[in-house]
Symmetry: C2
Subunit: 338 residues, 2 copies
DNA sequence: TTGTAGGCGTTATCAG
DNA sequence: CTGATAACGCCTACAA
């Protein structure tokens, strides 16, 4: 392990000078010394020790990506096929900016606090946070926090989100335009201030606009694991009063399609299905899934830019970015007007 | 930030004593002091500063999960739907053992070295490493390295793998038993000492055992992105000399099925398809995909156990774990004997 | 049973 | 232009 001291000795200067050169505080160092030092750094293979830096500067270059494990749910953030798509993007962008990514699952608020203190974490990403005690804790932090896919807002906190309401509206409206009136809404638990809630609102409003009465009996909330979603599909198959299903996630939609098929239904002939996210899966199902597209890598990138700006204390016009969605028409929806 | 010093002052003892209590070196501390210290720790909310510890102890509790970006490929580890499945498992197990996970993509060997030195990284996970300069670098490290899904071995390095040969053999054998003789093999580039190579060997040997001549023209190597895999399916559709396809990854198999279908082929009536991995997707395609199952979370867990043992300097009987595979029969393969 | 002191690698402050 | 020196929080001999 080459240290600053080693470089200093090799060149015959003090640690201070070396440190200054490393940090480009080159104003008061002779050009000659600079090259000498840089050569030594190359030759001896000096690499900064981040722990030492963190210790002395109270900035660690560590960014945490937090997965908040509520209650009994055992799955962590990376297991969600959609979220995992932008973690790669986040790591990349972070790296390009000289930061390091720690993945961490926390169960309680104090788990989080401990983690933060352990490493002097500089900033945080969290997904799927709701209005609860955990969120309250987040707002009290003195480090920048970027929430992804959350509908809780606070002056201390940035949000990177999606036109979820629009997504829900667009999807439902599309089904209505195709002549559907009996449209089921399938999703994980609809929590207030959550993404799903917004999409639900979009669904409801599209219905309302078309003067289609909202029916509670067409709302299906359940977990996203394959077995459950397939089961839901089977359940839906016996309902005579449904011509279309809008699922708020592609994996959910795909599971429903599988269940429907297993129950002998044809898609879209017997029943139409729409998804949300536009993950690869949409092009692999049969029929291919019509869905609402969102750009996961871009989301990750923007989240990082946001965090970087906050870390640089740049004044931000607002603390929210909303990414657009658009509909991708494939084969899983049938027009009733034929 | 409460420090050890604060605790010491609060209780009226020295830092040493506090440190000793924290580390359970309780042999030479009075019971009374111990409780006093523990109370203070609770009350003042002391959390160890890992940077400081790392600095002084040359062990950082940081474990790196390395994604090696070869050449022009831009995708990182977490974007692979299969690999991402066990990162969650790795983080969890690591956390339970007091370690922290840093995700990092490196392009060159020196990227890796820098990262390692930056944080005094205690141990490493890498996936998909081949016999190359990067691997050579790995073998020279003084920290434990656990390779996942790699067929390069070295005394300094641990491997967590799969019965890949067996998987290839079992899949092919299954197809043969169903009466297939013209079996295509689809995979990413077959690199020597890679997982895919082993599966390929299994394929070849199953053929040989059944006295079916190996034909180079039935081997298809390409990228795993959706567009390419679908394209391959279409390509396969026009080949009259193929009755079955064995794909070394479910995403590949699913893409092929989609392409086949788009070209008007029925699965498994016209052509049978087998996958590998048994990800959720297998139950969502139509028909559901017959595949070779492997246990991703277990793989992650075992990888961590391996690393922990190495870090504890436990003598290991051998530096390799091979997880078993088994065939999962679904609907994508047709018997030719009907 | 407990305390003192030195040092890990770095940066910042303040002199020269 | 450059160099001591202290400090960050922690651990570990060694002393007491």
């Amino acid at each position: 392990m080459t240290t600053i001291k080693d470089i200093a000795q090799a060149v015959g200067v003090s640690c201070t000078t070396v440190s200054n050169v490393i940090h480009g505080k080159t104003g008061r160092v002779s050009a000659e010394t600079i090259t000498l030092i840089n050569e030594a750094i190359d030759k001896l293979g000096y690499v900064p020790n981040m722990s030492a830096r963190a210790l002395v500067s109270s900035s660690s270059k560590v960014i945490g990506m937090i997965s908040h494990l509520t209650s009994n749910k055992k799955e962590s953030i990376v297991e969600d096929p959609f979220h995992s798509a932008f973690i790669g993007s986040i790591e990349k962008t972070l790296r390009e900016n000289g930061y390091y990514l720690m993945l961490r699952t926390v169960e309680t608020t104090s788990d989080l606090m401990n983690f933060l203190h352990n490493w002097n974490v500089d900033g945080l990403f969290c997904t799927g946070v709701f209005q609860d005690e955990f969120f309250e804790a987040l707002t009290t932090l003195k480090i920048p926090v970027v929430l992804i896919d959350s509908y809780v807002s606070h002056p201390n906190i940035c949000n990177v989100g999606l036109e979820d309401y629009d997504g829900g509206y667009t999807a439902t409206r599309y089904l209505i335009d195709k002549g559907h009136k009996d449209i089921a809404f399938a999703s994980p638990t609809i929590k207030e201030k959550g993404v799903v809630y917004e999409r639900f609102l979009g669904y409801k409003n599209a219905l309302k606009e078309a003067s289609i009465p909202f029916r509670k009996s067409l709302i299906f909330e359940q977990e996203l694991d394959t077995a459950t979603t397939v089961e839901l599909g089977k359940q839906l198959a016996v309902r005579k009063d449904i011509t279309a299903v809008f699922a708020t996630a592609d994996i959910l939609a795909a599971g429903i399609m599988a269940g429907l098929r297993q129950a002998g239904k044809m898609i879209p002939e017997d029943i139409s299905v729409m998804g949300f996210d536009d993950i690869n899966l949409c092009q692999l199902t049969s029929p291919m899934l019509t869905t609402i597209h969102q750009d996961a890598p871009l989301k990750g990138k923007l989240a990082v830019y946001f965090l970087m700006d906050k870390l640089d204390n740049k004044p931000l016009p607002n603390n929210e970015v909303i990414l657009p969605i658009h509909l991708v028409e494939r084969e899983s929806v049938k027009s009733l007007y034929n």
